[in-house]
């Protein structure tokens, strides 16, 4: 926490919960030199006993200026800010605000100062999100629906959909696909032209169930069968190592992996 200046009481700023909203809030705090006691998303705000609250409305031009400002300081910094923000950790906004203040406060660029607790923390949080992004690029399992859409449900630890969109778009450019985050209730839909954000009224979660569903094509189950077989035949029994296996494929992801059908 930093020291309050003058007689002004510290404020809690409330924003709409979007990344651009957060950046707008940072802009406001900098411009008006506000003493801040917290930055909260409007969904989850909690009033402090002695602090005023103020709602900040997202303004793209201001958000853009903060983004560009950080990026001009360092490319690593802007990536770390965005990735760490997506970690959604409780209180991340205030930590990031302090991080950004630090970036602008010093003459040199401090993003590499790993002996600084705050900087190391942001860098590690960003790494965690980066790992989850990479995991999702690996663990998404598409199932082909009757009408030819490749559909996948995911439940990642962090909000990584915005980060994986480009990867899947350039990889599966010739097939229609949907990746839907059941935890955060939104998804990506690629319609062979562009990727759009969608929200669906899913009646059920499509995990790797043993039961066949009507929505998926019959060849879909044939290929799942082949894949499951392959998963088994490629294993060398005399080298079995369950600890290493679960270290690489943690159990919380098994639900959506068709090759772990029998294990769940």
């Amino acid at each position: 926490m930093f020291i309050q200046l003058g007689m002004e009481t510290a404020k809690i700023l409330i924003y709409d919960g979007s990344f651009n909203g957060f950046l707008t809030t940072v802009f406001k705090a900098f411009e008006e030199k506000l003493p801040i006691s917290d930055i909260q998303s409007n969904g989850l705000c909690q009033n402090g006993l002695f602090s005023e609250t103020e709602t900040v409305f997202t303004q793209m031009d201001k958000a853009k200026r903060v983004w560009n400002g950080i990026q001009a300081k360092s490319n690593t910094a802007i990536k770390n800010v965005y990735f760490a923000y997506l970690s959604g950790q409780k209180g991340i906004e205030l930590i990031l605000y302090r991080y950004i203040k630090k970036l602008f406060g010093q003459a040199g660029i401090a993003v590499n100062d790993f002996s600084d607790t705050l900087i190391l923390k942001i860098s590690q949080l960003a790494d965690n999100v980066r790992r989850e992004k990479h995991r999702m690029e690996a663990f998404v399992r598409f199932q082909q629906t009757q009408d030819g859409i490749y559909f996948a449900n995911i439940e990642p630890d962090f909000d990584v959909l915005p980060l994986i969109s480009k990867h899947f778009r350039s990889r599966y450019a010739d097939q229609e696909w949907i990746i839907y985050d059941v935890k955060r209730k939104y998804g990506l839909h690629y319609n062979l032209e562009s990727v759009e954000i969608i929200s669906l009224d899913l009646k059920e979660v499509y995990s790797n169930s043993m039961l066949k569903k009507d929505v998926f094509s019959s060849t879909e189950y044939a290929y799942q069968h082949l894949w499951n077989d392959y998963f088994k035949s490629t294993n060398i029994k005399s080298r079995i190592n369950p600890k290493l296996h679960t270290q690489h494929v943690p159990k919380r992801y098994w639900k959506y992996l068709s090759e772990k059908k029998q294990a769940v």
Partner: protein, 420 residues
């Protein structure tokens, strides 16, 4: 296609291909052009892991397990009484495309038993890759096995469609090869390697002048050696690996602990343990050579022909070279930092960046993730407290082993169990 028939073939031919350990799917430069399928740029992805903990990144299968050779170490050798099968080219294409579309794999790793002759087999492998690239517009990763003895023309064509090519040398020494695979000549292995190396070099030099030079094996070539089938020392293996890295510009040499697959008086008996720990130590050495600036002669030489099993090769080297330590973390250059046991390249890079701001102490290093339990005997930092006593190497080793928990520790513990 008939799923039942394909299923049976897949079971046989995936089972036969699994002893090939290469799983890399990185290092290619094939981008998705004109809305095709797949993209293999930059880093590879491990889509799953088998229960043995090995990564599954590629659909790893043999085209067929019919083979005219009788190599003692190989599960598909002619004299082995097993079920044989062969895929049709279209079946492999369909499997690859459909697995890829569901995000199961990064691509295909296609190998084969040798039927009729080397060229005939190689031609079939190339035609799978060609079909995937030209007819299916597939930009995923393709790893083809170079068949020992295949002609230069076919090896050239293979490189046009594949991202990586590999020939498995299997037995690290020429004498071992004579013993276990009498039908094969050492030159049969090196000929396609040399061709691929020369083509890659030619591609690189032509590319400078002609922009549209057809891309050739962008992810380079690799090879594999079986560990523990014949009596090679670790020195033999690593010197041989170094030779392949240098002479053929290998991207990777893989070490594969021998899994006994045959009753043969020349080989370990079926059921004997796979030398997984030794394999691990060899990989650690490989990493020290490729990323940490070590020379193979520093780690293995006539005085030390084998790696220590109970400690890692860097620690073992450090204990033999105590006169070089302690190293000051705040001033030493990158090359020296990388030589401190317990400090990996990630920590080295963090230290180099962080020490520009202030002198680093124990607390900083610990937070950055340095394995201090090993490192602190070999370094000094900005603190009044460090290992001041002149400890001898044996004591340090003892202390490290006592205060750490290695994942393989139970495998070589000499302590007797009281209640067993």
């Amino acid at each position: 296609m008939s799923f039942e028939r394909v299923r049976e073939k897949l079971n046989i031919l995936a089972d036969a291909a699994k002893y090939d350990v290469s799983c890399a799917s990185s290092g290619s430069t094939r981008t998705n052009k004109n809305k095709g399928l797949g993209n293999s740029t930059g880093m590879g992805i491990c889509h799953s892991y088998a229960e043995d903990g090995r990564c599954i990144s590629l659909l790893k299968i043999l085209l067929t397990n019919h083979c005219i050779f009788d190599c003692a170490y190989c599960v598909t050798r002619k004299s082995n009484d097993i079920k044989r099968a062969a895929f049709k080219i279209q079946e492999v294409v369909d499997l690859t495309i459909n697995f890829y579309r569901r995000n199961y794999i990064e691509g295909l790793f296609l190998s084969s038993g040798i039927f009729k002759n080397a060229d005939y087999t190689m031609e079939r492998l190339v035609s799978v890759a060609k079909k995937l690239r030209l007819e299916e517009n597939f930009n995923g990763y393709i790893h083809l096995k170079s068949i020992p003895g295949a002609s230069d023309e076919l090896m050239y064509e293979a490189g046009l469609y594949a991202d990586r090519l590999s020939v498995n040398i299997e037995i690290p020494t020429v004498s071992g090869l004579k013993l276990l695979a009498p039908d094969k000549k050492h030159e049969d292995f090196t000929k396609p390697m040399r061709k691929v190396k020369n083509e890659i070099l030619r591609y690189r030099s032509e590319k400078k002048h002609l922009k549209n030079t057809p891309i050739y094996a962008p992810a380079g070539q690799s090879t594999q050696m079986i560990i523990g089938a014949t009596g090679e020392s670790d020195k033999d293996i690593m010197y041989s690996a170094t030779h392949y890295y240098r002479t053929y510009r290998m991207k990777r040499v893989y070490y594969s602990g021998y899994v006994p697959v045959a009753e043969d008086s020349r080989l370990p008996v079926i059921g004997s343990q796979v030398p997984m720990l030794r394999e691990n130590r060899l990989y650690q050495t490989d990493w020290l050579l490729r990323f940490y600036g070590f020379d193979v002669r520093e780690i293995l030489n006539n005085d030390y022909p084998n790696l220590d099993i109970d400690i890692d090769p860097k620690l073992s080297w450090a204990l033999r070279n105590m006169h070089l330590f302690p190293i000051d973390i705040n001033t030493a250059d990158k090359r020296l930092l990388a030589r401190i046991p317990g400090i990996g390249m990630q920590s080295v890079n963090r230290i180099l960046k962080a020490r520009q701001y202030r002198k680093l102490n124990w607390e900083h290093l610990k937070r950055m993730g340095v394995a201090l339990n090993r490192a602190h005997y070999f370094m000094i930092c900005s603190s009044r407290y460090w290992q001041q006593k002149d400890l001898d190497p044996a004591t340090i080793k003892g202390l490290i082993l006592q205060n750490s928990k290695g994942k393989f520790r139970n495998k070589y513990s000499s302590q007797l169990c009281l209640f067993n």
